[in-house]
């Protein structure tokens, strides 16, 4: 499974969605990919969700503007062939802007934004980030200002939340279940009156009347906009399924992260989405590279004396545990992804610190954009 690095993987792509669970270096990977593609001459925008403060500063993203801003070429060093744009997503604002765009009148938009159900909906932590990230992606894709959009996905425990949460919210907004259950008009009659269906009176008993009437008011305000949500959802589906949209899995080499990666791939397949490959971060290379441990200890003792040599050997032994674990996990991942014929797995080694500046991003980029042969050489150099 010789690969040519990220650039070959994203050849012809207009959208790259970076998925993965929290804490695996997703934001850094998305930023390094965008940086590298820009250096290769493309006009690229990276949409990040929650970047580390220092990394955001490094990209000049000190202000939340909710629109991509160009990263000054001076920040990128000499090889800025194309353009790098970056933005931090503001979920609440993205949601408000969507309502403003879809509402028939500004007054209606204001009324919706004041509605209690809407306020809860747009600021609920779970779901709204995912929903608005996709909405923003769709908006930027429609405007067509960029050769490539790189989307960092919200931090979640489960990589699949990102695919499922927007659907849940969309189906709520489309309101098909709701419209059947409670008509936006005359709810008082239907809920209180004798004509209320058994289902509805059971619902009333469980939820209380206020919640029902609030929901009814909310859907009354949305009115025909529910059809717009439906249409947009279909557009978004088309965008995600387009041959120019690639899903890239970002993961770490630890056991649970690999399990999740395998599961993620299966779900993408079931959903008919394109899996481009996996980036595995924090891989511990085999530092012994076939040399015997005894021989190593002797050489260390010669150079450092027995006491220090012993502690260095202990550090090596611990490191080797993780190297073995990572190799086993990577083998398993490769096998699950289809072995030699499967999509590429790009390894990025464990680095010595947080990536918090452009130099750090360039370092990660070097691994991601190298061909497989070149990458292996870089990793063994680092390990040596």
């Amino acid at each position: 499974m010789s690969d040519g690095g990220i650039e070959a993987l994203l050849d012809g792509a207009r959208v790259c969605v970076c998925g993965g669970s929290g804490g695996v270096g997703k934001t850094t990977t998305a930023a390094a990919i965008a940086l590298g593609m820009a250096a290769a001459g493309a006009r690229v925008a990276v949409v990040t969700i929650d970047p580390a403060r220092r990394l955001a500063n490094a990209l000049g993203l000190d202000e939340l503007e909710n629109e991509p801003r160009r990263v000054e070429p001076a920040r990128l060093g000499e090889d800025a062939g194309g353009e790098l744009w970056a933005m931090m997503l503001d979920p609440k604002r993205t949601f408000d802007e969507l309502i403003e765009r879809l509402a028939p009148t500004p007054e209606r938009a204001e009324e919706i934004k004041r509605n209690r159900i809407y306020r809860e909906l747009s600021s609920a932590v779970s779901g709204s980030q995912e929903f608005t990230a996709i909405a923003k992606l769709h908006e930027l894709a429609q405007e067509g200002d960029f050769d490539l959009l790189v989307l960092d996905t919200p931090p979640s425990r489960n990589a699949l939340d990102f695919l499922e949460a927007p659907g849940r919210l969309t189906s709520f907004l489309e309101g098909s279940a709701m419209r059947t259950l409670i008509r936006p008009t005359g709810i008082g009659m239907r809920v209180l009156g004798r004509g209320a269906s058994p289902l509805l009176s059971a619902l009333r008993r469980v939820t209380g009347l206020d919640l029902l009437s609030d929901l009814s008011t909310f859907f009354g305000l949305l009115g025909d906009m529910t059809e717009d949500f439906h249409r947009r959802a279909a557009d978004v589906e088309r965008l995600l399924h387009a041959p120019t949209t690639e899903f890239l899995l970002v993961t770490a080499a630890s056991g649970t992260a690999i399990e999740e990666a395998i599961w993620f791939r299966r779900t993408l397949d079931q959903a008919g989405l394109q899996f481009a490959g996996a980036v595995v971060n924090r891989v511990h290379p085999d530092r012994l590279a076939g040399v015997g441990a005894d021989e190593t200890l002797d050489a260390l003792a010669d150079a450092l004396g027995a006491d220090l040599a012993e502690r260095v050997a202990a550090a090596l032994e611990d490191d080797q545990v993780l190297a073995r674990r990572d190799r086993r996990n990577l083998d398993r991942l490769a096998e699950e992804l289809g072995g030699a014929d499967g999509p590429p797995i790009l390894r990025v080694p464990q680095l010595d610190g947080d990536v918090h500046d452009v130099a750090g991003l360039q370092h990660v980029r070097a691994f991601l954009f190298a061909s497989e042969i070149e990458r292996e050489r870089m990793i063994s150099e680092l390990a040596g």
């Binding site: 929290g22 809860e120 425990r157 919210l169 709520f172 709701m178 059971a202 150079a303 947080d354």
Partner: protein, 308 residues
């Protein structure tokens, strides 16, 4: 302020990838060893706890993992089904069977969270509403990572406000009052000594304060050993590149660990300074193991010895 293990409900929060489930389970093991009948409730049906104990089966069920330590994986669908069955009788069951209602309940913002936290509340009651179930001394909640688990703490209050009156409002009010009671409930955070997790832990502390909640403890997980002094590290650096391949690899491993341990110390100091003296800190070692199984959890539980 009562000791951590004297509460009945502990919410373990934290960003993804910091080992939240591992710490929650180790804390459960520690509490069980001290004689508390404890259950670790997972809210994201990841089955991580069970995997560590090599168990499988129906997840929405209280399973004993070790002496006095139980686990359950709470998903909103099962929680709703049980709630309707126990609370509202035949009518509720008819409702639960309706696909339309299911779609309604699962799509209503916050409803999934409310149902999950409702089940947590039920587990923490002296008199369990589910027939024949025994009470627990301690319920440890492995909260979801999204929004750092704060959503789950806020949902009951929000619902009490939205629904105003009716059964949901009443239930939500009771749960909200339980969460707000520091004698009953503690919120703790798990963190690792890196920039983002430290920032988010400090942010979490501030967010909780706006809801009149205090962090009861912060667990800093995965701290690397401090094997070398800076002077020794300089000696290693000088030798690096001049020895044979294997030894060079060993020096590389040692230097890399040393650099990362130093970065961790800096972040840990920043965390401590940010938290001040009001929030106790607990430190846990990085485990150099291929998997986290029972022996590793026991090691972490022993590292929690002084937590009472």
């Amino acid at each position: 302020m009562p000791g951590l293990l004297d509460r009945r409900l502990i919410f373990v929060t934290g960003k993804g990838g910091v080992g939240k489930s591992t710490v929650a389970t180790a804390l459960g093991l520690h509490a069980a060893r001290r004689g508390r009948r404890t259950i670790v409730a997972e809210l994201a049906s990841q089955e991580g706890v069970r995997r560590a104990f090599a168990q499988s089966g129906d997840t929405f069920e209280e399973v004993e993992l070790a002496d006095g330590l139980f686990t359950i994986s709470i998903d909103p669908e099962s929680a709703m089904e049980e709630y309707l069955r126990v609370k509202t009788g035949a009518l509720g069951q008819a409702l639960g069977a309706s696909r339309l209602f299911q779609a309604f309940a699962m799509a209503t913002p916050g409803m999934r969270e409310l149902l999950s936290v409702g089940k947590v509340y039920e587990l923490a009651q002296f008199t369990r509403r589910t027939g024949g179930a025994d009470p627990y001394d301690l319920v440890i909640v492995d909260s979801p990572a999204a929004g750092h688990g704060i959503g789950i703490l806020r949902t009951p209050r929000t619902f009490a406000e939205i629904a105003r009156v009716g059964p949901i409002a009443g239930t939500a009010q009771r749960i909200a009052a339980t969460i707000a009671d520091p004698d009953f409930t503690a919120v703790v955070a798990v963190c690792i000594a890196e920039e983002m997790p430290v920032n988010e832990t400090l942010w979490l502390r501030d967010q909780l304060r706006t809801d009149d909640l205090e962090l009861a403890a912060v667990f800093t997980n995965a701290l690397l050993p401090d094997r070398f002094t800076d002077r020794e590290a300089r000696r290693l650096k000088a030798a690096h590149g001049r020895t044979r391949t294997g030894a060079d690899g060993a020096l590389g491993a040692a230097l890399s660990e040393h650099a990362r341990a130093a970065a961790q110390r800096e972040e840990l100091a920043r965390l401590r300074e940010g938290l001040g003296s009001d929030v106790p800190g607990v430190e846990l070692p990085f485990l150099y193991n291929e998997i986290v199984g029972v022996p590793e959890l026991e090691r972490l539980a022993s590292a929690l010895e002084h937590v009472t």
